[in-house]
């Protein structure tokens, strides 16, 4: 998908890419820590034939699952991923019993049939009872899976061994034919979602409205179910039936943390799915053929964890940092304000002041000094610099203007506005100030009769206007 057609891509796209690269870097580094550097180099250079054969297929799988999983999340159908991934098992066993070989074609067809069957049965239960989706899907999931296990138990002993890889996956088993299948499934999803994006958006947000406006809701739903079943079925060779659900849901859920517009979530989920695929293949390769399913899902899980901590929208780390930064800025601005009050009390006769009269600490002064707001003068005294005075005047102006706004415009009593202004003075931007100034008719004094500083005030102009 091209960014240019997505409205409002712009800056935030680069921010995402930054996050993504960072996440992958962390994962590559931790991967290299686990295995020898030599193997990592082998992997990156694609020196191993198995990796060369497996990687394209797995990446396409990640792309496909990322896209379709996002649509499932949007429609609150994520349980469907679990249901499908378990419901294909009896199909695999049946395909096996039918041909008595591990012929991939037979197994795929069997899996596709029971996968589709499971979503039809679920839909049928939903349509004719009052059960909700989660209950209906749990019933179908467990019954189909149990049937699959019983059928596998019935297989002759010798052939059971090979079925392991359908449960847990093995990318080394991917051959050219399977890669083509994965490519076809991924291409189908990309084309359908590209073409029908807005239809899926309406279907997910407000299906009732969509139907009323003539959207073929049933058709879109069936299309989505078919694509998802197909994705699960073609993925099972590589990642196994059990954990495909994780690959469907985790990239989408991760992307969900980064953006609040569905089209961006979709694109990011596809990218994350591909990234998880690369990392999972690497770990599986480095771990000497460790099963693909678990490694892929673990990588996706690490991504989710990283996003949970780092996401610009919901990330814990970001929140903590910004709270801390804001807190420090508030303390600095409060310090400047205290100094301003002291100078104001002396009619702005000079910029010098002592720490005690302002109730400020040495540490605060050092912090302000680093920002060029104050400078030390002889005998332990301090004085405001020109920019320090401007900044102090700005904060005081915000405070007094907001108090005035609250009393004049919002009907607050005079003795109720101080605390609110303490908070707002640090938050008002220049355009808010202009707006307030205009609304209040460029006032001179606050509700308590103190003069409101103007932008561009210096200590000299303030002194001149001080009566």
């Amino acid at each position: 998908m091209g960014w240019r057609v997505l409205p409002g891509g712009g800056m935030s796209v680069w921010r995402w890419v930054g996050w993504l690269v960072g996440l992958m870097g962390v994962m590559v580094l931790s991967g290299c820590g686990v295995v020898s550097g030599e193997r990592a180099v082998d992997f990156v250079m694609l020196r191993d034939g198995h990796v060369r054969a497996a990687l394209p297929g797995v990446v396409l799988l990640g792309l496909n699952c990322g896209l379709l999983g996002t649509l499932l999340i949007a429609r609150r159908l994520t349980m469907l991923g679990d249901t499908l991934s378990h419901a294909v098992l009896p199909g695999i066993a049946a395909g096996f019993l039918w041909t008595m070989t591990k012929h991939p074609g037979a197994l795929l067809i069997g899996a596709l049939v029971t996968g589709v069957l499971s979503s039809l049965v679920t839909g049928w239960i939903l349509g004719s009872t009052r059960l909700k989706a989660d209950a209906a899907q749990s019933v179908v999931l467990t019954v189909f899976f149990a049937a699959g296990i019983v059928m596998i138990k019935l297989l002759p002993d010798g052939s059971k061994a090979g079925l392991d890889r359908f449960l847990y996956g093995q990318a080394a088993a991917l051959d050219a034919g399977e890669t083509v299948l994965l490519a076809v499934a991924a291409a189908l999803s990309v084309v359908v979602i590209w073409w029908g994006y807005r239809g899926f958006l309406v279907l997910a947000f407000d299906p009732g409205y969509g139907r009323a406006a003539g959207l073929p809701v049933k058709g879109l739903h069936l299309l989505q179910m078919f694509l998802t079943t197909l994705a699960v079925v073609v993925s099972m060779q590589a990642v196994g039936v059990i954990l495909v659900a994780g690959l469907l849901v985790i990239p989408g859920a991760t992307a969900w943390l980064f953006s609040a517009r569905l089209h961006r979530v979709l694109v990011l989920a596809a990218l994350l799915g591909m990234a998880a695929a690369v990392m999972g293949t690497f770990l599986s390769f480095a771990g000497d053929g460790m099963a693909m399913g678990p490694t892929l899902v673990l990588c996706a899980g690490v991504m989710f964890g990283g996003a949970f901590l780092l996401s610009p929208r919901y990330g814990m780390a970001r929140r903590m940092v910004s709270v801390m930064r804001h807190g420090r800025r508030v303390r600095r601005e409060d310090g400047l304000k205290a100094v301003y009050r002291v100078l104001e009390g002396r009619g702005f006769s000079g910029a010098g002041f002592g720490l005690e009269e302002c109730g400020q600490s040495e540490g605060m002064m050092r912090s302000l000094e680093r920002r060029g707001m104050v400078r030390a003068v002889a005998a332990g005294g301090w004085e405001l610099t020109e920019s320090g005075f401007g900044e102090a005047a700005r904060v005081v102006r915000n405070h007094r203007l907001w108090e005035l706004y609250l009393t004049r415009r919002a009907g607050f009593a005079e003795d109720h506005v101080h605390d609110a202004a303490e908070e707002m003075e640090h938050l008002l931007a220049e355009e808010n100030i202009e707006h307030l100034m205009g609304v209040l008719g460029h006032p001179e004094r606050d509700p308590h009769g103190r003069r409101i500083p103007r932008s561009g005030d210096t200590i000299e102009t303030s002194a001149a206007r001080h009566e």
Partner: protein, 263 residues
């Protein structure tokens, strides 16, 4: 835009419509006809089937027997001319879209549900948002809207359809008095241009003032027609089954409304 002549088929007409949920009948044999260019309220107690009637009209619920026509034709043939404002609580307001995205869903009718929005679509969406005074919120995430703002966004989405017939399920719930007034003015403007609005309304005190026709519903049709004829104490009593103690007062209001209209 249609004119309201005698020859014109009614904007909305249903004949002997019955609807059931799980074989439990909810509406029995409803006959309604709403001429073009009217503001029609659907009034009735909770569970009367008001939402059900609208959903059945929009083809969202199967109709058992009877038929529904819009402008004399089946809905499928005139879909672009009919807009639907669902009850606000029918969607998940945490969904990752912004206000503009929602309103754009209404642009361009059925074709607009597939193609990417054009500049004209965006302009139309902005105009519609302006009509409900929500333009400043165009880029807002919908999860950050208040209930009344959500309602106005839904209204804007329907307005963007530039339809001739609007079905609205409780457009005034959660809307403050000033906004309610503004919306009524807006609806009157639509009517003046020949549009027809059918809206579920709960507030009996304002119903005779806002609407020129009402449909009184309680699982079956109690009465339907011009406010002056239908919005009477006796028929309301029948609709609400004597549960209303303020009926006499309401009858008085209806009389006043009649007087204002010079009937």
């Amino acid at each position: 835009m249609e004119t309201n002549s005698d020859r014109e088929p009614p904007a909305f007409e249903c004949h002997d419509v019955s609807v059931s949920y799980d074989r439990k009948p909810v509406l029995y044999g409803i006959d309604v006809s709403v001429p073009g260019g009217s503001l029609c309220g659907i009034v009735g107690p909770n569970g009367a089937g008001k939402s059900t009637l609208i959903k059945a009209a929009m083809g969202l619920l199967p109709v058992e027997g009877g038929w529904v026509r819009m402008f004399g034709r089946p809905l499928d043939e005139v879909r672009p001319r009919v807009a639907y404002v669902p009850q606000r609580t029918s969607v998940d307001w945490d969904f990752p879209v912004n206000v503009m995205d929602v309103v754009l869903m209404g642009c361009g009718g059925k074709a607009g549900l597939w193609r990417r929005p054009t500049a004209a679509d965006r302009e139309l969406a902005r105009e519609s948002l302006e009509m409900v005074q929500m333009l400043p919120y165009a880029d807002r995430q919908i999860s950050q809207l208040s209930g009344g703002q959500q309602q106005r966004v839904f209204l804007a989405r329907a307005l963007a359809q530039r339809a001739d017939l609007y079905f609205m399920d409780e457009p005034f719930t959660g809307v403050d008095a000033a906004t309610e007034r503004a919306i009524v003015t807006l609806l009157e403007g639509l009517r003046a241009k020949g549009g027809t609005i059918v809206a579920v309304h709960h507030d009996l005190t304002t119903a005779p003032e806002y609407f020129d026709r009402v449909i009184l519903l309680n699982m079956r049709l109690v009465a339907a027609g011009p406010v002056e004829e239908v919005f009477t104490a006796e028929l309301l009593q029948k609709t609400y089954g004597g549960r209303l103690t303020v009926l006499s007062e309401l009858a008085l209001r209806a009389q006043e409304a009649r007087a204002r209209r010079g009937v």
